[in-house]
Amino acid sequence: MRPLLGLRRAASVITFALGALANAGCAGHEVRVRDSLIALDRGSMDQAVAALDRELGVKSPGELPPVTRDEALLLLDRGSIHLAMGKYERASRDFGAADQAIEVLDLSTSKAADLGRYVFSDDAGPYKAPAYEKLLLNTLNMLSYLARHDLNGARVEARRLAVMQKYIESQHDEGALLGLGSYLAGFTYEKSKQRDEALLHYDEALEYAPYKSLRDPLRALTRGQKTTHEAVDALVEGAEPLPPVEETGEAELLVVVGFGRVPSKTPVRIPIGMAMQIVGNELSPMERREVDSLVLQGAVAWINYPTLGQGRGGYEVPKASLGEEILPMEQALDVEGEVRSAWHKREGTLVLAAITRLLARTAASVAVAGATAAGINAAQDDRQRRDGSAEAVGMLLGFATSLTMSALDTPDTRSWSTLPARIAIARTRVPAGKHAITLEVRGQRRTFDVQVDAGGWALVPFFVLR
């Protein structure tokens, strides 16, 4: 009898330990960025970066951690905040490191991770960035190179963007064309005096949105001549050619305002009945029967899965002025719209995956309980003393298994959470010299003093991530 008592005690201790571990188990990604986002809401970008540095395990914003798993996402977040702070070199460095890591993660496969995803949680595997994040990574990095007048670096990002766009198009992903990236690539090549490439990218941008701010630059680039680009020709049709700024002695200013924040992913628990209404038709008849049986037994009532929370600042209208003159701004990109659109395509799959994991957990729990009870009973048979303790211990361990696996089922809330909800642009010609540009959005107002030479240009980014 003693060994059996020992077995019971051991099982109780393990159950307790597992329960404790389960409660202290891995939190989702949303917890890792929470402090940073709260600091951004307060307008404290230094604190937001410090919070990310703590998560990255580095002592200063100048450090890059080894990127093995989700550090790439934290670097993307830190990169956007550095961009908003006007620390463009740091932004480029963070974006560059994240870009390289995401490329590696994107091509990595792991049977263990696949199994983990199937049994434990969607965030068991490496992060796979959605199309819009990959494209915006090169877009925002191009912006940070342009902000410091580095056309060489911006051209590299423009080429990387083109490679990624082509790849995403080949995967039939509708998010392949995000106009802002093509607009900035066109600007980069135009200022690099590579007219043909500039026209190609502007044409792509115009397929996404009819950017009015491109009309004058294209009047200058096309000089009244037809091109092979339909969207370009349509925009300048009927307009007189315009001499380029190199000839008029003027300069050009491009203002890019990013504001608000895209909705973050948050974990939710929904009743199994509701989940079945969302994706019930996607389950096989056998799976449906299993779920129905579990519901009838009262064994399960809820499933965990991630959803999108509220965005911030989506409907703000930024204000821009050049001295006393109001600068008309136009929307360059509705990032929140892209995020929601991509999410709606995946939401059903995620709910389905959560139900599948629920079934896997229940099966594992039943298997552990059965195997334990059978093993103990086999031992007791020797002495012809079956008292039902084996089933109790089996149930206990089965419960422990289910509990642990449930606790590990953290909804995959990983995303680039510091992307602006919207990005607006203004572009204008100015006389060479010094200019004061005042930008205002989301309660923040800043004046930038910009010096431009004849034939020169400047790009002024202003990001308010609150």
Partner: protein, 207 residues
Amino acid sequence: MKTARLLPLVPALAFAMLAPLAAGCSSDPVFVRGSEVKGLDDPPMSTGIDKRDMEQLLHENMKHLVASPLAKAWADAGDKPTLAIFPMLNETSQHVDSQLQAVLSDAETFMVNSQLVTVVSRERQNQMIAEVERQNGGQFDPNHAAQYGRQLGAKYYMTGKVYTSDERTAGGRRVQYFMFMQVIETETSAVRWQNKAAFTKALLNQD
């Protein structure tokens, strides 16, 4: 006792359930010297340009230059004409500007040691470029290379461009590099020597 034999199953079971919790743990990286780890320079660690690629590029290009009629003419004349070495244009999809600078420095060292030409000092060259390009922030403009060469009094200048053919598929990313190096006669803008070196870097899914 069979019951006693079952006891070891309990920790095994616990281990099986706890294993995923430990899956997130990883070991800390350590810094090493090349001399401590045999073959440290061998494995590629990115799709950028590394030391081995630079050595290959330089070896191929300089070997070709030394065997060219231009080098033979320099050697025969023995007058060591002045050569300026200008930045190489990065037309790739990778941020490899600093590596290209290193390639140029290696080329400069090679040309100095070859005793075939007199190489213009990099400092003087940068001053000249900054003076000509004052309005563009002092950045090198390849379109003005001949002008810099003339103002430096260089009879020849060496320059080049690096291009990539970059492709991404579901299974990998391949970057093919093509490096063109040229020696141009400043007075006539005639290309007196040109060579192409190529190599490929890739990130592949091994499944």
